[in-house]
Subunit: 202 residues, 2 copies
């Protein structure tokens, strides 16, 4: 859409700025700006302040690399978590999902990404040295790799597993198999193949 | 996704505030917040400031109801536009498209919506009285209804047309027909039916 009418400068700046949101292009940023100004100026104001406050106030936990206001986040400084387990996840969203399973009481390390050489994301960008130094804490007995089961996530897990094993750490990976509650007829063949390969005695 | 790990308060506030964006729910607002804080804090800062600035600085033009920093927008105060034509559109985006066609030199009135009784949007919400008083300017010779060709847009056009005609204004509607450059085989039957009904001598 070629821009023809002269928009007020703050509106033009807002449309441009909204494009920093993932998946938002020219057309939807314009739609968002119109919507906010027309129907929800209070929401827009609140969002504006929340953005500035979050950028200023939120950093990374020095231990787990997750988002935190403090140098060490609440979970890392809690004495109610099992410090012998360290679970490596790609994002805070993944960490949330594992917490929601109520099946884990150890600590985390959040990579904030995964290896993706084609996008220029390598071991340096993900600061693997920080993870390695965290994992070399003598309290850690086992590192659980919980990156995604996507090609990138698998590559990341494989790479990390090599590095960690070379340093003598015990490394495990989340189990692959048929999802809970699913009917075999509707599970994809690759998953069935994995579930067969990794079948276990009962 | 039930929230389990305790997120820093400014992050939680940001995730909540992002939900004021149209089409953004819990999951995508969280993804956006993570993305901004992790990969684009400068963009987030700029967006935050742009939002606050736009909410404060942008209002509505008193004549055309479009977004404007001034009481009367640049287009309405321009003497290079044909003041005898008044084109009624639903949104600034529609206005942009008409300008991009280079086929119109008159002025606009932006409804900032369309009649949608089920959503509680009636003539009062759209301030039809403002449009009527604008259209009763003696300089206006013709009101062109350019609302969308959707059920709501058609209803809005029909309703406005009655009101304006009752006040003795000449009212026209954008032509319906086969889109430029299209092959009849791929045009929908409703459009063909309209194009036949409104066929014209050459």
């Amino acid at each position: 859409m070629s821009q023809q009418i002269s928009e007020p400068e703050p509106l033009r700046a807002l449309i441009e700025a909204l494009r920093c949101l993932p998946g938002v292009g020219e057309r939807s940023s314009r739609r968002m700006a119109y919507h906010l100004l027309q129907h929800d100026p209070r929401g827009a104001q609140r969002l504006g302040e929340a953005l500035c406050r979050a950028v200023e106030g939120v950093g990374h936990c020095r231990r787990c690399n997750g988002f935190s206001e403090d140098e060490i986040c609440a979970m890392c400084s809690s004495d109610r978590r099992d410090a012998s387990l360290l679970c490596v996840v790609e994002t805070p969203a993944d960490q949330n999902m594992i917490e929601a399973s109520h099946g884990y009481t150890g600590l985390y390390y959040v990579l904030m990404g995964r290896l993706a050489p084609l996008e220029g994301v390598g071991p340096d960008q993900l600061q693997f040295d920080r993870l390695l130094s965290r994992a070399s804490d003598p309290a850690v007995q086992e590192v659980i790799l919980a990156t995604n089961f996507t090609p990138e996530g698998e590559t990341t897990a494989h790479y990390l597993s090599e590095l960690l094993r070379a340093r003598g750490r015990k490394v495990t990976r989340l189990a692959r198999g048929v999802p809970a509650g699913s009917e075999l007829e509707y599970v994809d063949a690759g998953t069935i193949a994995w579930a067969l390969m990794e079948r276990r005695g009962t």
